[in-house]
Every structure is written in C-alpha cells, then in structure tokens.
C-alpha cells in the first residue's frame, strides 16, 4: 500500500474496520471455530450493539480486537482489524500494550471479579492514568476523584480508598467504567456490562454510559444478549450466530424490517408486558451448532422453520438489502 492511499484511507475510513476476522481455539476435542470471518465497520461517535445468544462469539470477537485471546490455545487465524489506519493484528505486543486502555478500553461482564481484591479501587484507577497519561500519583489521584464523581459514586474522596469488597456490584461496575474511561479512549468495548446486575442498576449503568458517550464523543461497542437493552441506545446492530454475522443494519431497520429468522426468533422471544397472564414465553427450539463441527450450510439450518434443502448445502453470505447498509445472510429473506 502506498503512502498516498494510506493517508487517504485514514481520512475517510471508519474508526474501526474489521474484515474477515477469524478466531479459533485449538482444544483437545478439535478446533473450535469461535469467530468465522466477520466484517463490519464502526465510525467514530457511533454506538454498535452486538447481539446473539451465549457462545456465539461475541466476547471472543471483542477480545480479538483487543488481542487478549490466549495464544495458545487461541489463534487469530485470518483477517484484519483496522483501527485509526493501523492493522492491530500487525502491531507488536508492545505497541498493542500502549494502545490498550488508552485508545480502546474494555468493561467486563462480572464486576465482582474484575477488580483486584487486594488493592483499593482508587489505586487501580490511578494505575491506568499513571501508565498512559504520565501523571504523577497526586495528579492521578485528583483525576480519579473526578472520574469517580463522573460515574456517580457518592463521596469519591472517601470512596477512593475503599477496597472492592466495600463496594456494591453496581458501584464496582461504575468503578470499572471509570477505569475504562480514565484515559478517554476512542472506543469503549462493553462486554455484557449489565448482565450481572439487577434491572434498576442496569438502567443506571446504561444511562451513565450513554451520557458519557455524548460528553466524550467516543464510539461504543455494546455486547449483549438482550435485544431490549440495545434497542434504545445503539445506532447499529450486528446480530451474531455461531461466529457469523447473520444480520446487520441500523437499529430501526433491524427492529422494523427484521429479515433473518434468527433475529425474528430473538425479537419474538422478548416477553411483552401486554401479554395476557399465563401466556407461554416463546423460545427458539434447539441449540446453536457445535463450533467444532460447523455445518457446511447455513449455521441456523437446524433450528430454522423456513429451511430448504439449499440452506443445508450452501452457506449464505451477507447480502445488502437497502441503502442504509442493512444486510442479511439468508437464502430466503425475500420470501419470509
């Protein structure tokens, strides 16, 4: 690639562009194909929701972007992850380390274990600041108090010296968000940050992230299995299934013009408050396919009510449906 095209790319290219990312794990039972050639892009300031059920490669794909997959047994077999004009997969471990936390930050699912129990919460946030922002301990401490205040932890001057076990689950997740935002990253990856919390705290955390996103103008990738959560907060949605993106598009397109049978199933399985008492919850029958022995056809074939023989034989590829980038990987989307 010449210097000219490179600079051009960095001007009008999205913040993050993933192309044909493939992540595998070599286990004793065989090769687990966790992420199977996904491609998408994320512009700066955009919020992307990644949805799908457990074990469909959502978290693994996020960890691949951060290059936090354990190698071995993991392996990023193919693909490119362009972030601000650089391919993350080609960076050295050292360059990657400087990028983590400063440019891309991550919030994890379980706030109970993501803080180190032997250090104070403040110390752990200060650490990131001193690491990336070259702050002195005193500056870092002041900034940490600001951050704790920002994420809505009351009395931050006292709380900064608390240990994680003195925090409630919601407060810990707030502290994790403060840590992730400490260096004002350009991209925040939130890996099911509200799954382990109860509903009221969930709403607070979502509000908080939305507010901070607006203030800081960063991009957010919100990984969840809860379509209800993402509906109101994201701009775009990627629906993942068995390591593939099977439908992607703007949030209104996904909800109003649902095309893929799996997405339909996911939306159909959301309980509604208007339903008569005693109505059974709808579910998608069956389980996701074994990622060790992926079917050669459509990965959703076994659970699909619209299936045809053709679906089993050939794997559908993402097909753009409208000008807004709504795309679906299904042979029969026109008919159903």
């Amino acid at each position: 690639m010449t210097a000219n095209t490179l600079s051009q790319q960095s001007i009008n290219s999205p913040l993050l562009r993933v192309s044909n990312l493939q992540t595998r794990f070599h286990t004793q039972d065989g090769v687990v194909h966790a992420v199977n050639g996904i491609s998408y892009h994320l512009d700066s300031g955009e919020i992307l929701g990644v949805v799908g059920e457990s074990g469909c490669g959502k978290s693994v794909h996020a960890l691949s972007i951060m290059r936090l997959i354990q190698i071995p047994p993991g392996e990023i077999a193919d693909g490119e992850i362009w972030f601000e004009g650089r391919d993350l997969l080609k960076l050295s471990e050292n360059e990657m380390r400087h990028l983590r936390g400063r440019d891309i930050a991550m919030v994890f699912q379980d706030p109970m274990t993501s803080l180190n129990p032997v250090f104070t919460v403040g110390f752990q946030i200060c650490e990131a600041l001193m690491l990336h922002m070259n702050m002195t301990r005193k500056q870092a401490r002041e900034r940490t108090i600001e951050l704790l205040n920002l994420v809505g932890i009351p009395e931050p001057t006292k709380r900064i010296d608390n240990y994680p076990h003195q925090f409630s689950g919601g407060m810990r997740q707030r502290a994790m968000i403060a840590m992730a935002l400490s260096c004002e990253p350009k991209l925040l990856i939130a890996d099911e940050p509200t799954t382990a919390l109860d509903v009221t705290i969930q709403a607070q955390i979502i509000d908080l992230v939305m507010k901070l996103q607006k203030e800081m103008g960063m991009s957010v990738m919100w990984i969840t299995h809860d379509l209800g959560i993402v509906a109101e907060m994201v701009h775009k949605i990627n629906v993942m299934y068995a390591g593939f993106i099977i439908e992607e598009g703007l949030v209104d397109d996904i909800y109003d013009e649902t095309l893929h049978p799996y997405t339909k199933g996911l939306l159909g399985s959301l309980p509604s408050i208007d339903e008569a008492p005693g109505t059974k919850l709808v579910s998608i029958p069956g389980l996701p396919p074994d990622l060790i022995a992926l079917p050669s056809g459509c990965p959703f074939y076994a659970r699909c009510t619209y299936r045809q023989d053709h679906c089993r034989e050939e794997r559908p590829v993402l097909e753009t449906v409208n000008a807004n980038g709504h795309a679906v990987a299904c042979w029969r989307w026109r008919e159903i």
């Binding site: 354990q70 380390r97 400087h98 274990t113 180190n116 809505g152 009395e155 509000d207």
Partner: protein, 410 residues
C-alpha cells in the same frame, strides 16, 4: 442522573464502612483466634529467647566442660556440692542443659528460617514463572530470561560432574545467546541444532578436559545434549512443564533420605544442613506457587489489567503475587516447623550441627544413650523444645490459614 446520585448519597451514611486494609483485617482475625495466639506466643518466646541468648548471653561451647558436674539431675535450690543452679540438669560433659537448649534454639531456628527462605525464594520464583508463562505469549526479554534459566539449570549437571561452577554460567550464556539470536538460521532448525550442539559440546568437553579426559568426554556428551535443547528458545508452556517435571523428580525421593544424601555428599555442618533441607523443600513451594498463579490468572481482574495495557511484569508482581501470598505465607509457617524437625533429625544422626555446637537434635543424639542410666532430663528438655517450637509454628500456621482465608472475610 442527579436523582441516582442523591439516592446513593442517602445510602452512604451507613454504607461507607470504616476503612480497613486487607492485612489489618487478617491481623484482627488472627488475634481473635485463641489457638493462633497460643502459637504466636510460643513462637515469640522461642524467637526472643534465641535472639536474646545469642546476643546477650555469652556462651562458648568449645570450653564448656565440667567433669565434676556430669549428669546432674535438675535442681531448683542451691545446694552445698554445687554453687551453680542447673534447672534442666547437666549432660554427660557436665554442661548446663538449660543454657544449651536456649542457645540451641538460635541454631535450630536459624536452620529452619534459612532453609525455608531458600526453598521459598527458589521454589516460589520458579513456580511463579512457570504458572504465569504457562498460558502467556512470551516477549523477547522473557524468552531470554527463561532460556537462560533453563541453560543454568541444565548446566548444573556438567558443572557438578566436572566440579566447575562456571560451566553452568557458560551454559546460561548459551541459552541467552539462543534467545537473543532466535532468528539466526531459523529457516534450518536442523543446522541450528547442530551449531548449538557443537558449541555446547565444546563448552562441556574443553572445560572438562582440564579436569580429566574421562570427565571431558562425559561433559562433552552432556554439553551436546544441552546445546541441542537450548537451540530452540523455550516457550512458556515448555518451561513450565520442564520445571514441574524436575520438581516431580525431586519430590519422588523421600525428603529425609534426600536431605541425608545431600548432607552425606556435602559433609556435615549446620550450613550444609540448611542447604540440604532448603533444597528438598523447593518443589513444595514451586507447586504451590504455580497452582495459585494458575487459578489467580483466570480471574477477570487480570484480564482487566491487561485490557488497560499493563505489562507482564506489572501484572505478575502487582496483581498476581499479592493475591497468592496467603497460601504461601501459611505454607512457609508450616514449613518452618517441618524444617526445624528435619534439622533436628539431621542433628540427631550427627549430620547437622558439628559437636560441640548446641543444637536440639544433636543434643538428643548425644544423650539418648544415658536414658538407661536414668538421666531423663538430658533428653527431655531438648525434646520438649523441639516439640513446642514445632507446635507453635503449626498452631500459628493454622491460625494464619483461617485469618487469611478470603471465605472467612466478612
């Protein structure tokens, strides 16, 4: 948003607890446990008397001899025959047993502490590295360190055969070179193996020849093997399994037998006893540290610290080490009791302290023959000293385990 904060502020009045550190918490739990206090008191008494006696109560065992006062029973009142009070009696050479037990404490505890320090530092570091790098991709520096360590460890064998310690250092340098020039001849791994094998053979063979032709031959063969092993810079997984298999080999010997064999090889003496007991204890700490690191590194906070871009060294020493300290502290305290017992056993067999240096095990060994003539005090008091010191460390270790157990934390 403002509403949420004000709600939380309402809660803080009773939600914020008094600030307490983890170790202070553990200390409070420890001193609220009666048996742990007993252990602590026993250990403190032994340590204080031993240190006090060593520095403030002069005793020269080489001149302590009084044939007029042989095997005197304990007396608590001054009598006409002897102007000296022997509250623990005297031994076969007329030496005051109380004095020797107190001074023997200095030697016995010293052996215990130094032996445990040896096993803890070597075993702990090996276990730490093995556990951490088992599932971590090595960077250049780490690869250099681990491959040098492997070279040093392997080089110890020819160094021992030829009795030339610097051979081990040369093999360490060979390992370092292999890691630093890992791309050199990387296309032809076979040739690279030959090259390193020849260098290893030269190191072992030439230096061994200085000692004797046969030694040179043996060292050349061993050196060839080491060179071939070192040709490929080690991966974390390989380092871990290599270290752990060596630990398994050491563990497969009965520990007392191995310690006795090492002392028999090195010759008797307090320092050699320390080395032997320390060496035998290495695998315990290595395995403990490795398993603790393996379980801690699965925790999400380690992933979180990686995700904010911390280096391996920082993650290992800032996040992992403090979290594995408690099992290691407990094991070290229990290990002290074990080491004191081992030291006494070596002393009893005449392989530890060289007479006339006072040491509890050696005192037992000196005096058990006089049991039949009724001199029970010469055996009882050193025996009690061993028993109580071991009991004290064990009780303290138990108490520490309860105090440091995170499940006990409120």
């Amino acid at each position: 948003m403002t509403e949420i904060i004000s709600e939380d502020q309402l809660l803080t009045e009773f939600a914020v607890r008094e600030h307490r550190s983890l170790w202070l918490d553990a200390w409070r739990r420890l001193i609220s446990n009666r048996t742990a206090i007993l252990g602590l008191v026993i250990v403190a008494i032994f340590l204080l008397t031993a240190i006090g006696a060593h520095f403030f109560w002069e005793y020269d065992p080489t001149v302590d001899l009084d044939y007029n006062a042989k095997l005197l029973a304990p007396t608590f009142v001054r009598s006409e025959e002897s102007d000296q009070l022997h509250i623990f009696g005297t031994d076969k050479l007329g030496r005051d047993i109380f004095r020797r037990v107190v001074h023997g404490g200095w030697n016995s505890l010293r052996v215990g502490i130094i032996a445990v320090s040896i096993s803890l530092s070597i075993g702990g570091i090996l276990g730490l590295l093995a556990g951490f790098f088992e599932s971590t991709h090595l960077n250049g520096v780490e690869q250099a360190v681990l491959t040098s360590l492997l070279g040093l460890g392997c080089g110890a064998l020819p160094a021992w055969i030829a009795n030339q310690p610097f051979q081990a250092l040369l093999f360490m340098l060979l390992g370092l070179g292999s890691a630093l020039f890992s791309t050199f001849m990387a296309q032809s791994p076979y040739l690279r193996k030959v090259l390193f094998g020849v260098i290893g053979m030269a190191i072992g063979g030439l230096l061994g020849l200085l000692v004797a032709p046969l030694v040179g031959l043996v060292c050349a063969v061993v050196g060839l093997g080491i060179g071939i092993i070192l040709a490929k810079p080690i991966s974390g997984k390989a380092f871990s399994s290599f270290t752990m298999r060596v630990m398994d080999i050491i563990l497969s010997f009965p520990s007392y037998l191995l310690a006795i064999a090492i002392v028999a090889f090195l010759g008797p003496g307090l320092e050699k006893g320390m080395l032997a007991i320390g060496f035998v204890g290495i695998p315990v700490y290595a395995r403990l540290a490795r398993s603790a690191v393996l379980s801690v590194s699965q925790k999400e906070y380690v992933l979180a610290s990686q995700s904010i871009g911390e280096s391996h060294g920082r993650i290992l020493f800032r996040h992992i080490v403090p979290n594995i300290l408690s099992p290691i502290i407990v094991q070290a305290t229990m290990g002290l009791a074990d080491a004191i017992l081992s030291a006494a056993a070596l002393g009893f067999l005449g392989l530890g302290a060289v007479p006339p240096i006072p040491e509890w095990g050696a005192m037992l060994g000196d005096s058990y023959k006089y049991l039949s003539s009724g001199a029970w005090w010469a055996v009882l008091f050193p025996g009690l000293a061993i028993m109580f010191s071991v009991l004290g460390f064990n009780l303290l270790g138990d108490g520490l385990r309860d105090a440091l157990d995170p499940k006990m934390r409120l």
